[in-house]
């Protein structure tokens, strides 16, 4: 024990601490490391990959997925899961396109309000009825998609974005990069500050780490849970909104499987599905990684769609296996 043994073990402990740090760094930034490798491979192998335009394409394509993964990271750190985001994403897009006739403010506000409300209901059910998030948000997935179909006349009506500020937002660029990318970047910074530097963020980690302990330490469990699902709903709605601005219409055929992509990105980014640990930096790396891999497959052009799915699945498994292995190594190193 520390009191007794500290002085003697100091040297050995310092060494093992160092190993632990390195392993921890690799584990936390594993997705980033793989991303770097994949980028280098891409840069060397494919001429077209190197272009500025291609980087822009990757970033702008990753923007909605990144927003959804941002909310998902919060949810997963609390030990929950949100399967409704794909449906909320489509719903948000349809609502934004419809609301764009009332101006840019409405085009952002309406999806945020509706999807936020959806998240609120899910959060309330999870926090108060204490049903498993998996099931609640699975029902949310169906409910939000049903609502979207109802709004769009069973998918028959596609609302077009009105020409105006909202459409311009979708088209607008600053220094050759779309506005949406800046928005996502800003939100990630805000997200990081929230997660690491606010009491709410601390509660998110505490609940995921040990709900019982958090309760006894005075953390407001229900409040925090409700807030993360609202947050996730809001971000999914916003993702739908910026996507609608980009596509110029409220496309109804989107979003199937989006929730699984988001979960995969978050997990690849080193966030534990059991909750209590995870970083937003990892999530960004995870989102970009999946996007870049897709891009490289396209660059190659010779991979059939069947093999593409095999590659993606295997890749997810490999990254996660590597992370689990590193986590074990870390535990061993820390003795």
């Amino acid at each position: 024990m520390t009191l007794v043994a500290e002085p003697k073990l100091e040297k050995a402990e310092a060494a093992s601490l160092r190993t632990e740090r390195i392993v921890e760094l690799v584990q936390r930034q594993g997705a980033l490391a793989v991303l770097a490798i994949v980028l280098v491979v891409g840069l060397v192998a494919y001429d077209d990959f190197r272009s500025f335009d291609n980087a822009g394409t990757i970033l702008v394509s990753a923007a909605p997925a990144a927003l959804i993964a941002l909310g998902m990271t919060f949810v997963i750190i609390t030990g929950g899961i949100d399967l409704s985001v794909g449906s909320l994403y489509v719903l948000g897009g349809v609502l934004a396109a419809w609301a764009s006739q009332y101006g840019i403010a409405a085009a952002f506000a309406v999806p945020l309000a509706v999807c936020g409300l959806f998240g609120l209901v899910q959060g309330l059910v999870i926090a108060y009825a204490r049903l498993a998030p998996f099931i609640v948000t699975l029902a949310g997935l169906l409910g939000a998609r049903g609502l979207m179909l109802a709004l769009s006349d069973e998918g028959g009506t596609t609302y077009l974005v009105d020409p105006g500020a909202f459409k311009d937002f979708g088209k607008g660029e600053l220094l050759g990069v779309k506005y949406a990318v800046y928005l996502v970047a800003v939100l990630f910074v805000v997200g990081m500050v929230t997660l690491y530097r606010t009491r709410f963020g601390q509660s998110v980690y505490a609940i995921g780490g040990s709900e019982d302990a958090a309760r006894l330490m005075g953390v407001r469990i229900r409040g925090t849970q409700i807030r993360v699902y609202v947050l996730s709903g809001l971000l999914a709605g916003l993702a739908g909104s910026i996507n609608a601005a980009r596509l110029g219409s409220g496309v109804t055929v989107l979003g199937t499987g989006m929730e699984l992509d988001a979960i995969a990105a978050v997990v690849v980014g080193g966030t534990l599905l059991t909750g209590g640990a995870g970083t937003l930096g990892g999530t960004i790396a995870g989102v970009l990684l999946l996007q870049v891999i897709q891009n490289l497959i396209n660059q190659d052009g010779g991979v059939s769609s069947a093999w593409q799915t095999v590659i993606s699945g295997t890749f997810i498994a490999l990254v996660v296996v590597a992370q689990t292995y590193l986590a074990k190594l870390r535990r061993v190193a820390s003795g």
Binding site: T57, V60, S61, L149, S152, G155, L254, N298
Partner: protein, 361 residues
């Protein structure tokens, strides 16, 4: 870390053995239908209305540069997995025609969006980044292409959309649409249905995937025409079969129980119709008891006419290759290209099904 000694050897053995088995020594049923597909010129698309009063577009108006297709980079974005006959035939036709024109395989870049619209947008953006000089797109959805147009028009890349139309400004956003008129297909199906039922009866619609323009238009056309030509035909049932055989069968099974008085089924694609046939067989119905009209013209469906289960099939011809490349060649050589190139779709019924089976895909 992974301990695979001793007791786990059998598991490992099974793993490797099964991997071996799954890959090698396959032996499928003999396939009588595997005769060479009649890729005769008879099966190719024919233009129905090339300049039906619409505006036209030529190279100067579009503002692009002349490109020699033989040396150009061409991008083709497919929307769905090539798992059903329509998509298989479509992609194959594009590839075959490119090869025929002597375009090197490396210059034809093909992407597949796997039914994900987001992915298709990204795919096309990537194709543009790769410097393609002509884009052929089979769009998953008619709306939502703003960002692609923005990018493509700044580089003056002509876009040819096939099979589904894109709602956009002709000659600025895209060059031309080649494909069928879906509402018209619905109307023709309605005519056939009216004829098969002698203008009276109860009909069910197996809808396509919801939120899809094809579904919307084929439904709209069918309903309008039925109301016009056969007001005594009642449409009592509309449920989605997701364009899939499995769902089509499931929904039809339910339908036959809850509405046993149904005389006709309008399936919005062949797959669902084939599912419906299985359901009819399961409910001990005989061929012809329920009239089926469907759209697409796959081999299976045309065979269905021969076997008596299907009344008629309206074709939706997927062989876009020759027409797409032909149009592009004309365009780059300075000719004016119409906004819509509507192909004339065949139709199959008991009079021609047996003879024209080879034309089906």
């Amino acid at each position: 870390m992974i301990d695979l000694r001793g007791r786990w050897r059998p598991a490992l053995a099974v793993l490797s053995a099964s991997a071996l088995l799954l890959t090698g020594c396959a032996k499928s049923e003999d396939d009588p239908a595997a005769k060479s597909t009649a890729d005769s010129s008879a099966a190719a698309q024919a233009t129905k209305s090339a300049s039906a009063g619409g505006s036209t577009c030529d190279l100067t108006k579009f503002g692009g540069q002349k490109v020699d297709l033989k040396t150009a980079t061409i991008g083709f974005s497919q929307s769905e997995k090539e798992a059903n006959p329509f998509r298989i035939a479509e992609t194959q036709s594009i590839k075959d025609e490119a090869a025929k024109l002597g375009i090197p395989a490396a210059n034809l870049k093909v992407t597949n969006a796997d039914s994900k619209f987001d992915k298709q947008i990204t795919d096309v953006s990537t194709l543009i980044d790769q410097g393609v000089q002509l884009l052929v797109i089979a769009p998953l959805n008619s709306d939502g292409w703003d960002s692609v147009f923005q990018k493509a028009s700044s580089k003056k890349i002509p876009i040819v959309t096939i099979d589904r139309k894109i709602n956009a400004k002709h000659c600025t956003d895209y060059l031309t649409f080649i494909g069928s008129d879906f509402a018209e297909q619905g109307k023709r199906a309605a005519d056939k249905m009216a004829k098969a039922l002698n203008n009276t009866g109860t009909v069910a619609i197996l809808l396509g995937a919801p939120g899809n323009n094809v579904t919307t238009l084929r439904t709209q056309g069918f309903k309008e025409q039925i109301a016009k030509v056969a007001p005594n035909i009642k449409i009592e049932f509309e449920q989605t079969g997701q364009f899939s055989r499995e769902e089509g069968q499931k929904v039809s099974e339910q339908l036959l129980q809850s509405k046993p008085n149904i005389n006709g089924i309008y399936a919005e694609n062949d797959e669902m119709a084939l599912g419906a046939i299985t359901a009819l067989k399961g409910a001990s119905k005989k061929a012809g008891d329920v009239k089926i009209v469907t759209i697409d013209g796959t081999k299976g469906a045309v065979q269905g006419i021969v076997d008596g289960w299907i009344s008629s099939v309206i074709e939706s011809n997927p062989r876009f290759g020759p027409l797409a490349f032909g149009t592009a060649t004309k365009f780059f050589s300075g000719e004016a290209i119409p906004e819509n190139i509507i192909i004339s779709d065949r139709e199959y019924d008991s009079t021609n099904a047996a003879a024209d089976l080879g034309l089906a895909y």
